[in-house]
């Protein structure tokens, strides 16, 4: 087998197009993926009109001065603002397609906010206007989502501030203290101090004093109020965020999307390189008429199949490892797990190599084998990536079974486990081992008609 491996490597070395493809492919793919996952998505261009006077941008809340422009800064993290001076100018930019949408802050926005918070003026809340260009529904949806999400963040921050202020007022009511409203300062005795005063007064009364009973009722009420207001912080907190989210992940550890994308990219590259190489190199033995000469005692048919599987797996694993090394320049990958990368890519390579030799033996010719490999690989990858819930339960069962008989899914699981510590490496390797045996057996059977 060693001599055949050397021979195949010599042939590969003398096929410059194939060699360039094997080296350039992982470099290009890893660079593209690296750039894609390491850069934040492109920000949509949105016209921004702030009609609030600069002098009028602040407002008081609970004695704290807040600047409305700080909320705009948060929004600008998600969009690329195109500042304009008027609503008409913003509408024109949206119409012309120069921007995907426009956000208009009316002149009375801070005043209305100030009035609402001070409880002194109109209770009407400020309304921001958003204008979309629906010419491109996908982009419009993206802009709308970004703006809504950022406005929700801003509302949440304001709500938190209001909660804090309200809790502060309730604390003063409970403990006593001073506060300012409409420019005037007030001293408040507080419920606890009031209760103490009332208890002192009651204690000073004689036992048969007719005022003692009503005074005791007031003291009891004060005690109840103190006890219940002690829970006010939690209650206000619940109003500010009535629904909390606790995330529980089932079926394996959670992998961030960018890291999972790396596992998918590596697996797809591994699949194409290995399947095409194994199928092509086996079919080449027939095209070169060497198959008959080899298997008449020089090499066993099984030995020949295994040699092609090993050759393709080693080459493809090298390509995959090159890709991972390239990707680690863009995304922080745990280099200490590199030995597991080797294990996973080699195991995946063996799985795809076994599938490749089966296709090569069935197709018999290099071109047919390459075409068959390509046509089969794409749907296999697609099937393995169909998420549960995307199709009906029955169809998903079919998809799972179909994915299980091809090496893509277990290889993806193995690479994800090796690169991202997603767990399940042992199961994936066992699955791949079973597939290698099955596909080598199929290839061996198909070779019966190979020499003809």
């Amino acid at each position: 087998m060693r001599h055949l491996l050397v021979k195949d490597l010599q042939i590969l070395r003398r096929s410059p197009f194939l060699l360039v493809l094997l080296i350039v492919y992982p470099v290009v793919i890893s660079t593209l993926i690296g750039l894609a996952v390491s850069r934040s998505p492109e920000k949509p261009r949105v016209a921004f009109v702030n009609l609030v006077d600069d002098d009028d941008a602040t407002f008081q809340l609970g004695g704290e001065t807040l600047d409305a422009s700080s909320y705009a800064d948060q929004l600008f993290e998600a969009i690329e603002p195109v500042r304009v001076d008027s609503r008409d100018e913003a509408v024109e930019k949206v119409r012309s397609g120069e921007v995907l949408g426009a956000l208009i802050v009316p002149a009375d926005a801070t005043q209305k906010l100030r009035d609402a918070l001070s409880l002194s003026g109109s209770p009407e809340l400020p309304t921001l206007e958003v204008i979309y260009n629906e010419e491109d529904p996908i982009k419009a949806q993206a802009v709308e989502s970004q703006i809504k999400a950022r406005l929700a963040d801003a509302n949440k921050e304001l709500s938190d501030e209001l909660t804090k202020v309200s809790a502060g007022y309730l604390d003063i009511l409970l403990q006593g203290g001073s506060f300012r409203i409409l420019g005037q300062g007030f001293d408040v005795l507080g419920l606890k101090a009031t209760k103490d005063v009332l208890e002192s007064v009651r204690d000073a009364l004689s036992a048969d004093d007719p005022n003692r009973a009503p005074l005791t009722e007031v003291i009891t009420f004060a005690g109840l109020a103190i006890d219940n207001l002690d829970f006010s912080d939690e209650i206000l907190g619940a109003i500010g965020e009535p629904l909390k989210i606790e995330r529980t992940t089932l079926d394996g550890a959670s992998t961030p999307l960018d890291r999972f994308a790396i596992a998918v990219a590596v697996t797809v590259s591994l699949m194409f390189v290995t399947v095409l190489l194994a199928a092509g190199m086996l079919a080449l033995e027939r095209e070169e008429n060497a198959f008959g000469r080899l298997v008449r005692g020089l090499v066993s048919q099984t030995g020949l199949v295994v040699e092609k599987v090993v050759l393709a797996a080693v080459c493809a694993a090298a390509v995959a490892l090159l890709m991972l090394t390239g990707l680690s320049l863009f995304v922080a990958l745990d280099g200490a797990r590199a030995p597991l990368w080797v294990v996973a890519t080699l195991a995946g390579g063996l799985g795809f190599g076994a599938m490749g030799v089966a296709l090569g033996a069935l197709a018999k010719e290099v071109r047919a084998a390459s075409l068959l490999s390509f046509l089969l690989s794409l749907p296999i990858a697609f099937l393995a990536l169909v998420p549960s819930g995307a199709v009906s339960a029955g169809l998903y069962d079919v998809v799972r079974v179909a994915s299980a008989v091809f090496p893509f899914r277990p290889t993806l699981d193995a690479v994800d486990a090796a690169v991202n510590d997603a767990g399940g490496l042992g199961t994936a390797l066992a699955h791949l081992a079973a597939l290698v045996v099955a596909y080598v057996a199929i290839a061996r059977l198909a070779l019966r008609r190979f020499a003809g």
Partner: protein, 254 residues
């Protein structure tokens, strides 16, 4: 050419087939074929298309088993040269020879390669990729690979079918030199459609038709067999081996 005396008791048998039969589903490809060849003997297997020539050679070479019958030599003792060059076009002449020498587990692969380069006359082109050589030179390497293990028998399946006349002539010079080697004569069994080639270079011809061995003997004996059966028919000249061969087949219903 000088024929090897077929009745020489001193000559040992290089290869023999006994009662070889090959059945495919629904078809009988070979029926009870027996023959033998001595060292240095050149045997041509001739017959019309579908006669079973390639099937016979592939059974002798161990590429497929016979349904019935036996072959005296194991496949590893027989040099096999397929019709199309079974070589790697991306490898050089030397790399091809060295690869197969190693796979054949030849004692001294480098010496065997040097010997074959010398015999084929390709020593000066040993480093060239095989795909860049002419068809004739590729066929020489193809034959040289079959000879790497110094087998006592060499099987060639239509060795000259893709060659021009000049290349054919050089090829046959090479093959007959192998067969007539003074110290290491090789029995050569080849199939061909070219009956003139069989007449010129073979000591013995085997005539196959529909899987049946109709004749075993020298080309001259085949002509005599036809003459002995009466007039050849109109338009068939004397001493025309091809005409005699066609008449032989026609007289036997083929």
């Amino acid at each position: 050419m000088s024929a090897v005396p077929r009745d020489d008791p001193a000559a040992t048998t290089a290869i023999a087939a006994h009662g070889v039969t090959k059945r495919y589903p629904g078809r009988l490809a070979l029926r009870d074929v027996s023959f033998s060849a001595r060292p240095g003997e050149v045997v041509a297997v001739i017959g019309p298309n579908g006669a079973g020539k390639t099937t016979l050679l592939s059974i002798l070479g161990g590429l497929q088993p016979a349904t019935e019958g036996t072959v005296s030599r194991a496949p590893s003792e027989v040099g096999w040269v397929p019709q199309q060059p079974a070589v790697y076009r991306k490898l050089s002449v030397r790399e091809n020879l060295r690869l197969f020498a190693r796979l054949e587990k030849v004692d001294d692969p480098d010496a065997a390669v040097a010997r074959m380069l010398d015999q084929t006359g390709l020593a000066d082109r040993a480093g060239e990729e095989l795909g860049r050589l002419s068809g004739g030179n590729q066929q020489r390497v193809n034959i040289a690979i079959g000879l790497l293990g110094a087998p006592p028998v060499l099987l060639l399946d239509e060795p000259s079918s893709s060659l021009d006349p000049r290349q054919r002539e050089r090829l046959w010079t090479f093959i007959t030199a192998l067969a007539r080697h003074p110290t290491h004569p090789t029995a050569v069994v080849f199939s061909t459609h070219n009956v003139q080639e069989a007449e010129r270079f073979a000591d013995t011809v085997l005539v196959l038709a529909d899987g049946e061995l109709l004749f075993t003997g020298s080309p001259a004996e085949l002509e005599q067999a036809v003459e002995g059966e009466g007039p050849r028919g109109e338009g068939v000249p004397d001493h025309d081996f091809e005409a005699a061969f066609v008449a032989f087949l026609r007289e036997r219903g083929h």
